[in-house]
């Protein structure tokens, strides 16, 4: 369904977003193959991300903790991972640790509400591409980054 939704994105809508130019540069077509794994225990947030990505025509899968994310990664390929840092069962740091051992990994965007400076350093050092504080980051920015990835 989300795939279809992305196809339905009108030209005008595309022009309203700040990513318009970037999309043009990439050739003016959307990569239907980009798959996003959302690792987030907070249901309202994961749902919002899912909705937004679907609206942008990006396929996404939601898992509620790190362990399930790793399990899923073992079976499927994902291009991008939106990783919450604070989760039950296995938190984002542990996931990053495991990812470091893996050969093929998705681009990781860490999403956190902790906003501890040290955390940011640490997360980036462990292989995440970007670190976003959820409350300070508009969804549109996340989508833009995903598209760039």
């Amino acid at each position: 369904m989300s795939y279809c939704r992305s196809k339905l994105l009108s030209k005008k809508e595309l022009h309203d977003g700040p990513w318009y130019n970037d999309v043009e540069i990439t050739g003016g077509y959307m990569t239907a193959t980009k798959r996003v794994l959302i690792v987030e225990d907070e249901r309202p947030l994961s749902h919002a991300l899912e909705l937004k990505l679907a609206h942008e025509g990006i396929d996404s899968t939601v898992v509620p903790n790190g362990q399930e994310a790793l399990d899923l990664l073992a079976k499927q390929h994902f291009d991008v991972m939106l990783l919450d840092m604070m989760m039950p069962v296995m938190d984002g740091f542990q996931v990053l640790e495991h990812l470091q051992k893996m050969s093929s990994i998705p681009t990781v965007f860490a999403l956190s509400n902790l906003s501890v400076h040290d955390d940011q350093e640490r997360v980036l050092a462990m292989g995440a591409k970007k670190y976003f504080i959820k409350s300070d980051t508009p969804l549109s920015l996340i989508v833009e980054e995903i598209k760039k990835a």
Binding site: A48, L51, K52, H55, S112, S115, H117, D136, P138, L139
Partner: protein
Amino acid sequence: MALNAGNTGNTVTVEDNDLIFVTLRGPQSGETIKTLRETLTREGALLHAQGRKVRILIDVVALKFADANSSSRIEGRKLLAELLFDAMGIVGSTQLLTLAMYLTRIARPGLNVRYFKHRSDARAWLRNEKKPKTARPISGIVFGVAIIIIGVLALLGWQFSNAYLRGFLPNLRPMNPVAAVGLLAVGYGFICYWRGTLGQLRITGACGVVLGVAALLPLHINYLLYGDRLTKIGPHTHIAQSAAICLVLMGIVGLIARRRDRWVRPAEYAAAGVIGVLALVNIFGQLYAHDFIYSLSNNFVMALNLAVAFAIAAAGIVVLALNRDVGNVLGRVTRIGWLFFAALLFIQIATYGMWNEAIIRNENASQQAFTKQAGDLADIVKEQIRGYSEVLYGFRGFFLSSTYVSQGDFNTYYKSLDLATNLPGLRSMSFISAVKTKDLPAFVRLRQQDNTLYPGGNPTFAIHSQTSAPLHYIATYSSDPNSQSSLGLDVTSIPGRTDVYNSAIALNSSFASDTVTFLKTATTPAEKGFFITIPVRSEAEQNNLGVVNVSFNYATFFPTLFNQRGLQNLNVVVKEDDGGTIYQFKNTHGDLTLATTLTVPIVNNNWHMYLQAPNNFGLSKTQTYLPLIILVSGQVLSVLFLAIFLVQLRGRRQALELADSATIDLQSERNNVLEQHEKDEAILGGIGEGLIVFNRHGNVERVNAAAQRFLGYDETELVGKNFSNVLVATNSETGHEIPRAKRPAAQALEGHKAIATKMSYTRKNGQRFPVDLNVAPVSLGGKVIGAIEVFRDITHEYELDKAKSEFVSLASHQLRTPLSAINWYAEMLVNGDAGKLKKEQAEYLREIYEGNQRMVELVNSLLDVSRLELGRMANQPVPTDMSEVVESIEKELTTAIVGKKLAFSKYITPHMAPVIGDSKQLRMIVQNLLSNATKYTPVKGSVKVVLRRATVKEVLHAGLPHERPYLFFSVQDNGYGIPEEQAVHIFEKLFRANNVRKLDVEGTGLGLYIVKKVVESMGGRVWFDSVENIGTTFYVVLPFKTTKQKGIT
């Protein structure tokens, strides 16, 4: 340990056994001694503070004072004295007079200072340290005073009242003064024993030995002192050799008194035994068995007083031997006093000796002169008489040369002899003719016709007082013109004369008469005298012509004769054989100790000359007064010496007073140090924080109770050990052990600066605990001598801190999660992701979205504040271009600026150096100030931003050190301003001024609080000027290189 000892020659060494050796070497000055003493006081106080007993030993090697200026030299000596009193002992030599003087002070009992010959002696003494007894045996003073009294009496008896003493005890002999002086010395020795200064016994002992031996020897000085005068009252062998032997023995006892060898006590008993026996023998010899003892040897006769003195001394020595452990055997010597004593004694003895010698020489000289004078006088008389005889024989020849000698011939011949000049004392010269009765008429006629003298002869010449003797002696001629009337006198009429003439004629030689009284003449009185007669006999005719007579009157004869010789200072009496005085001559009186009698033959008689003269006969005035001059000079010299000695004594007393006060000062100084030490102990013990003191090598010197409690170690486990060996420090964050060089204590000792940090220590049981720690170096004279570390266990704070951090994280997460949800869903709605919204819906939704955005900002600000307060604000200094920051914020605020139509102006110095600081924090400063300015400035207002280098004035205004470069940043607006009464609260957390609260609800009251915190944490200052409704200017001054702090508190 090398310490500052004033100069290069001096050293101060502190030994492990707490002995401090001070070596004074080479030239000293007040300054060097002062430095030395300060060092000693400090070291002593340090040892005292550690509860150790300090023992300072002064070692003197060629000490002298080098100050050119006398007052500083005196100051140096005073300080040296204080130094000595500070010391417990002295090692080595004490060659300085000053030092010797001060030593007497130290010799005082109770002042615990000792003298050691070598350092090893001091160390050995320390090992067997005993408390010296300071008891004063009463026997010492009793015996000492008794012996001295007897010694003084002996001296007085010898000089002044010997006769009285002899009258009191007839057998008593005067004491040899040398022995008496020796007795004084020995008596003083006993007093030394009482005072506990047995060291002086060596001196008194030496005096005793020397004077005793001197008394034994037949020395000239002895002879002079007791010789001549004393031999008159007794045999001069009266010096009791036994007494001298006693004196020698006592001297030896004094010499060995300080020794502690095993043989000393038996030797003392033996000496006392011999002295006692000798003394007793003499006492009994004097009182009961004098004759017997005396018969053994004259030398055994001894003065009773001396015998008694030695008996007492013997008893005293026994007591001394019994109590020889009593008293401070480590006495000190007042050499200066003894030097003066010896000098005085020497002067006195020398004076008396020289005086005596001079007297004896004078006596000998005057005796000689007197004897010579007497002989001379006798010779003069003899010579005179011989001269007369010759004249008489000349006359005889004159008379015999012709048959008739006329009156004129006689006078002419007489005058030619000039006898009045050559033979003084001549009364007259006459010719007495011997005429038989039958020849008288012819004789008279011949005389009457003699006209050789008077023209017409001498018709009045007649015989008168004619006797009936067969032979008449008729005075015929006379040299005396006044006795012409006696011519013609029949001398046989005068009794005695005829016998003289007859004797002369019978012997046919000259003959002298006894004393006769010459007849009174017209001009001469009847006076006594004598005459000499010589017969004139013609051998050829066997006829006696007469006699020639020369007469003398004594009154003229002797004075003329003697006065010519200029006799002075002499009495002369001349007597005849029958004892009649014929002449006396006295021109002196008084004590005439010189006398002699000479017999002078006068032709057939003898004259006896008795001569007397005083004992200075024939001496010059200089010679006469020489003994007196010697005596007076000697006494004057003694008085001078005494005066010098008294001056020295006074100086010493002053030094002692000074030393007393110095000692008191030192004691109180020590007490203060002790008291301070106790106080310090109490204070340190009471401190709740751990305290560790390191020495310069990092060895632990002390730890307080709290530190022991924190670390779990005992004081004994830590003190003396290096901190890196006993205290394990780890990084609280990483858990890694901190290497020694990076340890705060090491850095403080090396880097000379105080360090404050947090780390973890490990307890004895292995448990780690976080500490907040401050280490500061301790400097003395620019050199780091150690460090003091204060720390506290911050486990609790650490946990609390952690809990707070966790709370902040949690709050951050829990608050932001719902805010994120609202944000994102609102965003999607606004964007029309869920379908196109009505105008009202879109408007309401925007309100929700913006409200939520403000909530997010508030939460972020609150989190910033929390981090600031917890010190958890990240701080990563990087070069930050402030103009870029300003521009970026301006961009962010464009909507508001444009919306409110604000005039925004910037004055930025181009190409300014970047600020080294955390870019986020720097941004916070600019962001808060600029957003405030735009927020609180009404529509069409103006905002002015200035960014440049700060001037010195501004830096000083900010109260910052102006050596570093600073950035100046100001934001000026013409907004609502800050009410004056609320200005003081403007930087407070959650404070908002009344005026803006009414106008606007957007503010959080956190912005300025954050600005101030951040600016100050970076080492800068923020302040403002504001007038309500006119505007506000905020000023920020920041160092280009901001202070890096682990966190902001």
